[in-house]
């Protein structure tokens, strides 16, 4: 265990050193002798790929899994940069863990990491749910003046994430929630994550959705899992970022679009209305954005005569029935 009073630098150094023990080889110099180990680690594609590959081994996730152990200890270092490096692997852990756990295999290694994340978030949130108050335009807001008399009624409150109850073990019925909270944490830091990690997530999402048409041979390999709202919701928020967030282009967007299409087809199979609304609108919004500008962000609108967006996209609207 890494004790509390150590300086952040030495904590990071220790974590990095122990990683080289885990992997059984010295780390690349760029990481080992860097000023900012954690950040280097987060963006070292080769090293991260190796850790991901280790996490995906058929044998991993057991109680004595050294990579899981390292992730667990590193997260407990309470160093935000190191925790970020751990969160980078949330897609891989969730993606490998969920189908295996559904096959009822004991996987204490993965579960230890997931529970560490869950416990951290539970403490951070206290007893509070994450909610959204849907404003009423009759009342003035910072962005507009109120129109007419305020209705005076209570504002509607939507729940993004309900209150977290402490859990000491992953029970089957709480599995989706615990993984969902890990995804929520990933989502809150998603703009700092390297593209590779997001691509991993998109690929796992597609596998979770499972084959969604008789012609869909590629997805038949397995990996389909039950998708309750507590998994779909944070997944869609992450995918939304991958599609229309700030900096991703190319592979991330393509994979994310494929994942959202997969989830939409799955939601249709499940006739899950909330998921249909969310996935379908996300996909349509992205398609409209992709039509009206080439890649986002794009400053062309300020450099040339901008196309009037409404006209450009109206004809390209996806058909209203099944996407």
């Amino acid at each position: 265990m890494i004790s509390e009073w150590e300086s952040p630098i030495s904590r990071a150094q220790k974590a990095i050193l122990s990683l080289s023990d885990v992997l059984g080889r010295p780390l690349p110099e760029s990481v080992a002798y860097s000023e900012n180990h954690a950040l280097r680690l987060l963006h070292d594609a080769e090293l991260c790929d190796e850790i991901s590959a280790r996490l995906r081994l058929p044998s991993s996730g057991a109680g004595d899994d050294t990579v899981c152990r390292w992730l667990y200890d590193t997260f407990h270092s309470m160093d935000p940069a190191l925790q970020l490096a751990v969160l980078r692997f949330v897609p891989t852990i969730a993606g490998v863990y969920l189908p295996r756990a559904a096959a009822r295999r004991p996987l204490p290694g993965y579960e230890a990491v997931l529970l560490a994340l869950y416990a951290h978030e539970t403490t951070a949130r206290g007893d509070q749910p994450v909610t959204v108050t849907v404003p009423d335009l009759c009342r003035p807001s910072v962005y507009h003046e109120g129109a007419g008399a305020a209705t005076g009624g209570e504002l509607a409150v939507g729940v993004i994430s309900p209150t977290l109850e402490p859990h000491g073990a992953v029970r089957a019925t709480k599995r989706a929630r615990i993984v969902g909270v890990a995804l929520e944490m990933y989502c809150s830091k998603v703009c700092l994550m390297p593209a590779r990690s997001k691509v991993d997530f998109c690929e796992f999402c597609l596998a979770w959705a499972g084959p969604t048409s008789a012609r869909d041979e590629a997805a038949k390999e397995g990996g389909r899992i039950p998708l309750p709202w507590e998994l779909i919701q944070p997944s869609l928020r992450i995918l939304g970022h991958c599609l229309m967030g700030t900096s991703d282009a190319g592979e991330v967007q393509d994979k994310a679009a494929a994942a959202v299409r997969g989830l939409l087809a799955r939601a249709t199979l499940d006739v899950d209305t909330r998921a249909i609304l969310a996935t379908r609108s996300l996909l349509r919004a992205w398609e409209m954005a992709a039509c009206s500008t080439k890649r986002w962000p794009d400053l062309d609108f300020l450099l040339e005569d901008p196309p009037s967006e409404g006209d450009a996209t109206r004809e390209l609207l996806p058909s209203p029935s099944l996407a």
Binding site: A101, A102, A103, R104, P129, T131, V132, T133, V134, D136, L137, R139, P140, S141, V142, Y143, G146, A156, G158, V159, P162, T163, E165, R171, A172, T173, K174, A176, C187, S213, A214, R224, I225, P226, P228, Q233, L236, H241, M244, T246, S247, L269, D270, V271, R274, L277, A278, S281, M288, A289, S292, L299, L303, D305, P306, E309, G310, L317, P320, L322
Partner: protein
């Protein structure tokens, strides 16, 4: 000219067709300065060939000639020159010219003219003209810095570009400390300001400085920039998108922007929803063009936080002509079904599935069938929708055909439960199973299908097949769904394999979190009773009651939004179960206490009255017991237990002064109509026939009763279906 430019709104200034054209290299006239002091100016542009060769030497030369010819100051001359270069596409050259502009000096000069102006408002004619001069000067310099920012951006120096752009806005704020004057302001100046305001957050985003992007969006929307509607709407939309998908948590807007009593969004999603609402309203009011993506972002935002009822309201408000009738109905149905208002959703689907509208919309058909499958009164209607869905999907996608068959089976099964004749019931049940089987062949391991099949098999008392499906369901869900565990335990209990059922229940208790354990504990208590272990059963009930009471105390209003309410055991049920147990042990006092507690929770409940009647009956107070049963039937006309008990009691009373075999028989037959699998009803009807001298009928009834008794689950399987 100026007016046309403004009315374009989104149009571009300084393009080749613009009124101030320097772009084509020939000399052109620009009304640069509206006052007499400068008059019309002729900018003698160099010919195309020279233009490309502009270098530092030429710049200075051109600059000095401009300054002399037009009495411009140093900054203004550079601004003009730089713009010339920029328009020709010589970005680097333009940048070199712009680099020489000292913005701070220009700002100070302009600031002083403007503040002088504020004081000398009275000498109107003179000040107005002077005002215009300095406005033009300001416009020129600010535009130069704006173009500098664009040049930097084109050269890939985005961070520097953002800083320059920001300095434009800072300068505007310094020069116009009292806001940009609405009436007097030069269109050109306003346009530069608007563009800089709009550009800045995009530059910060491109540079990867997301926090700066966030604050510059807010600055754009919260400060007074005199933006026109279109520009403001564009910024609001981009900001909403950034908030929704950017993944950068911003924290609430600063306190400075908050006014008493106004709504301040406290997180990104809230702020995004607010902005999207404002955009939608602008459109309703005709202040901006319809942008379909706004509605999509809004849909995403509201469905993510589960507020689809509000979303429905906005779909209703969308002006005609945007969505087709059926599209609107279908969207509304999705929204209403998403927030549990299935009746409303079904009514809308009925409209859109009308044969004059779009009767073959697959998703609408499936959703309608799904909604109908939850309500036995709608099951027949659901069968129709499901059949149409199957037929429609025949040539489309095999997987959706499987879904259609799934709901067809479910609706048929539900219909079978309420069919009036035995023959029809078995026909429907067979058909239901056939559809489900076919669906199972098509769908790839859909757990819900397995669950429905297990229930259907259990209904026709094929417990082995039901058990197999239930086990498959547990495997497919990894044991993550509580109702799967309950189903297995109940099937085992129907097979009278109580100890195995208890093992399963214990395993399930290990796999579930504390708050969900209620239904399992209730089953466990009943299993103990069935195994004649009353004291252990009492212990389990105590545990259950403690859990339920703790649950009630800690229930926050938000806890349950992900779970369905029917996973919860009511305290009422627990007291009732315990009362039953005590009365079976003849602990009358304890039973009374438990009943008292139950009655306090639900005063007019048939189940409580039934339990009360049983206690009274067991204590030999038959008339009072009959009264309780009768009250139970009055409270709930379809309560099978009360009818069976009342019938049995009346039969037993044969020979007394209130003997009435006919009434007894009508109670029992009524009970069997409602619940044909009630063994107790068949048994009592048998006794009644025997008493009445119809041994053959009696034998039939006893046979039915004995067949049913062998496969009687501890709780009805129907409890596992979500209530509609």
């Amino acid at each position: 000219m100026a007016r046309s430019r403004q009315s374009m709104g989104v149009g571009f200034f300084d393009d080749e067709d613009g009124d101030v054209s320097f772009g084509d290299g020939t000399s052109s006239v620009g009304e640069m300065f509206g006052n007499g002091g400068c008059g019309k100016t002729v900018a003698s542009g160099s010919s195309d060939g020279d233009g490309r060769m502009v270098d530092d030497g030429n710049i200075q030369e051109a600059e000095s000639s401009l300054r002399e010819g037009l009495s411009l100051n140093y900054e203004e001359a550079r601004a003009l020159l730089g713009r010339l270069e920029y328009q020709r596409g010589n970005v680097e050259a333009a940048l070199r010219v712009f680099d020489g502009i000292d913005l701070q000096a220009a700002v100070q000069r302009l600031q002083s003219t403007f503040s002088e102006k504020q004081q000398s408002r009275r000498s109107r004619s003179r000040s107005d003209s002077q005002h215009l001069v300095s406005q033009h000067a300001a416009s020129l310099v600010l535009e130069a810095i704006y173009l500098k920012s664009l040049s930097l951006q084109k050269l890939g120096k985005v961070t520097e570009a953002a800083q320059e752009c920001k300095s434009v806005l800072d300068a505007v704020e310094k020069i116009f400390q009292h806001g940009i004057p609405d009436v007097l302001v030069d269109n050109k100046l306003q346009e530069t300001v608007s563009r800089a305001v709009e550009l800045l957050p995009e530059l910060w985003k491109q540079a990867g400085h997301y926090q700066e992007a966030m604050s510059s969006y807010r600055r754009a929307l919260l400060s007074q920039w005199n933006l026109n509607n279109e520009c403001c709407a564009r910024i609001q939309k981009r900001f909403a998108v950034f908030l929704l998908y950017g993944g950068v948590e911003a924290g609430p807007p600063s306190l400075a922007a908050q006014i008493d009593g106004c709504f301040v969004p406290k997180n990104n999603l809230e702020e995004a929803i607010l902005l999207l609402l404002i955009l939608l309203r602008k459109w309703y009011l005709g202040k901006m063009e319809w942008d379909p993506s706004v509605m999509e972002h809004f849909t995403f935002a509201l469905s993510i936080c589960g507020q689809t009822s509000i979303l429905a309201r906005h779909f209703e408000e969308v002006l005609p002509g945007i969505y087709s009738r059926t599209e609107r109905w279908n969207n509304l149905a999705l929204c209403y079904s998403g927030c549990g208002q299935n009746k409303t959703a079904l009514n809308l689907l009925r409209k859109s599935l009308n044969r004059h509208e779009s009767p073959d919309d697959l998703l609408a058909l499936l959703l309608a069938a799904k909604i109908c499958s939850k309500d036995s009164l709608l099951a027949a209607e659901g069968v129709e929708y499901a059949r149409r869905a199957v037929a429609t999907s025949q040539d489309a996608d095999g997987y959706l055909k499987g879904v259609g068959l799934h709901y067809l089976g479910l609706c048929l099964g539900k219909q079978a439960k309420h069919s009036s004749s035995d023959q029809e019931r078995s026909r429907l049940q067979a058909e239901a199973l056939k559809s489900l089987d076919e669906a199972n062949g098509l769908e790839n391991r859909d757990p819900e299908l397995l669950f429905v099949m297990a229930l259907e098999y259990a209904d026709i008392r094929n417990m082995n097949a039901a058990l197999r499906c239930a086990k498959d369901y547990i495997d497919a869900t990894g044991g993550s769904v509580l109702k799967g565990w309950r189903l297995i335990a109940l099937i085992l209990s129907a097979q009278q394999r109580y100890s195995e059922a208890e093992v399963v229940t214990d395993a399930a208790l290990d796999e579930t979190a504390k708050w969900e354990q209620g239904p399992l504990l209730r089953i466990k208590a009943k299993l103990k009773v069935a195994q004649s272990l009353p004291m252990e059963a009492v212990e389990t009930y105590r545990f259950l009651l403690a859990l339920v009471q703790a649950q009630r105390k800690t229930f926050g209003s938000f806890r349950n939004s992900f779970q369905f309410e029917d996973d919860k055991v009511s305290e009422f049920e627990a007291w009732l179960g315990l009362a039953d147990l005590y009365s079976s042990l003849s602990y009358w006092k304890d039973a009374e206490i438990c009943l008292e507690k139950a009655r306090a929770l639900q005063p007019y409940s048939a189940a409580a009255l039934h339990a009360e009647g049983s206690v009274l009956e067991a204590r030999g107070r038959a008339l009072e017991a009959l009264g309780a049963y009768a009250n139970g039937v009055s409270a709930e006309a379809e309560h099978v237990g009360c009818k069976v008990s009342a019938g049995a009691l009346l039969r037993k009373a044969a020979g007394s002064e209130w003997e009435s075999l006919a009434v007894a028989r009508s109670f029992l037959c009524d009970a069997l109509r409602l619940h044909p699998a009630s063994g107790a009803a068949w048994f009592n009807l048998g006794l009644l026939h025997k008493q009445d001298g119809r041994p053959a009928d009696a034998a039939d009834c006893f046979q039915a009763a004995s067949a049913l008794d062998d496969s009687h689950p501890l709780e009805p399987f129907n409890n596992l279906l979500p209530s509609s």
